[in-house]
Assembly symmetry: C2
Homo-oligomer: 244 residues x 2
DNA sequence: CGCGACCTTGACTAGATTCAAAAGTGGTGG
DNA sequence: CCACCACTTTTGAATCTAGTCAAGGTCGCG
């Protein structure tokens, strides 16, 4: 398949994009840049003048509590708009960190303003992509509030598996997930010790393996059951949901 | 002050609205309707063809876990768009319930489509209002993952106080909050017993009283401290933040 | 008065955190 | 190639936070 601008590709997943709209999107990307692992790409309190689409690598949004504990509020995979909301929100209410070396496309807010002035259809698609982010937030709220640790971890793995599969970043039920257990713990709101034990639960039930940053789901239906996972909130197409 | 359409009022808080835009918004409301207490106004899995703005009363969005436990993911006060996201999301990923008898304005998705086709500025304001919802979700994630029960309860009270004050629904540090402790527990992800004890902690420290559905904050700085509350994420104007 | 809904309390249990230390891993420089 | 270092994962034990179960109390209302 020939090269397709990642932003165009993303929005075409969400709805139809005309030729003219596609051109506008393609010219919106000002730079493609790299960020090294563990570097903050956006800082809480700042007001960036561009938004970022992740092309390669993993990134996360996070906030801190005064005691210094960190909560990750969002994990991003290639193809995700990481901070599209900074286009309209005055100040960042959280930071964004690169989990791995990342390659990303910068879209100046100026360009977004032009696009949203001229292309209502594109505006709705961009808006929709932030609404899906919010739907993921809600599902995480449910998990942290009402699910047990092991279920929430299983749920997260299921979610990441589907999100990566849409981007063709899985082979069968295997995918790279270069996160440390500390990062996982900060995502699920658990201590690292308890997260480790939750993972062991899933491993001992032969639902998955996780070695050297590579996850293999060995029992998808079992993992879905243990994670009480229902993918509706991800708004994926049904044909993307049938087994790989 | 003369009557102002609540949707116009909401968006004018977020940015400027021209005369023509105002007319378009005013004609977008098809019906004002009432919902009795404890009735679901939107159901998970449905695809409504209108969105709802709450004019009077309290409502909440919630999801269930298979065991039947409920997690409230959002509390809404008058002036909030409760399900604006249903305009673009295909299926509701959660339900909406009326905590009290509610009065609300219905806006057909058709009208929203026309508005978003013709008024890019209004589209951005509507989009922004859903982005603030998402910012609140993120703050709740931080609270549920990394804050202690009493801090999270204090934080929620601080948030609701400010959101209600913007709508002029507070007198000094007092406001109606007609929620049961079960509803509070479902919001904070706690059991009702533990929530009750968290409330007692705040009461015994003379930070607030809560009787017959009326909250009085008796020590705002103390409550802010105990809740580790920083209102940045609400995107309110600074002049709205100075003490009442 | 009695009922139902809600709030409060006590006692016990379960889930999760903390602290501490050991074991594994990968990379670097001598 | 190996020794060393930093980082990460794993384990054990003690402790704390929050959940569960059960009962009693309060309040408003028919």
């Amino acid at each position: 398949m020939k090269y397709e601008n990642p932003i165009v590709r993303k929005l075409r997943e969400l709805g139809s994009v005309s030729g003219e709209e596609r051109l506008a999107l393609e010219s919106a990307v000002s730079t493609v840049t790299r960020i090294p692992m563990d570097r903050d790409m956006v800082s809480e309190g700042s007001h960036p003048n561009f938004s970022t689409m992740l092309i390669e690598g993993f990134a996360a949004r996070y906030k801190h509590v005064p005691s210094g504990k960190r909560q990750i509020v969002s994990i991003h995979v290639p193809g995700d708009f990481v901070d599209l909301h900074s286009f309209l929100l005055k100040r960042m209410d959280h930071s964004v960190v690169a989990f791995t070396d990342c390659r990303m496309a910068l879209v100046p807010h100026e360009r977004l303003r032009e696009i949203t002035d001229r292309f209502p259809n594109l505006t709705r698609l961009l808006w929709l992509s932030t609404l899906i982010d919010a739907a993921i937030h809600r599902e995480w709220l449910l998990g942290m509030g009402r699910r047990k640790a092991f279920a929430n971890v299983a749920h997260l793995v299921c979610e990441l598996y589907l999100r990566l599969r849409v981007m063709k970043l899985t082979q069968d039920f295997r995918f790279d997930l270069p996160l440390t257990q500390q990062e996982l713990a900060d995502t699920t709101g658990l201590s690292i010790v308890h997260l480790n034990r939750a993972l062991q639960d899933l491993r001992s039930r032969h639902l998955l393996t996780w070695e050297a940053g590579v996850v293999t789901i060995t029992d998808w239906p079992g993992l879905v059951r243990r994670g009480e996972f229902d993918p509706t909130y991800l708004q994926l197409n049904v044909d993307e949901l049938s087994p790989a």
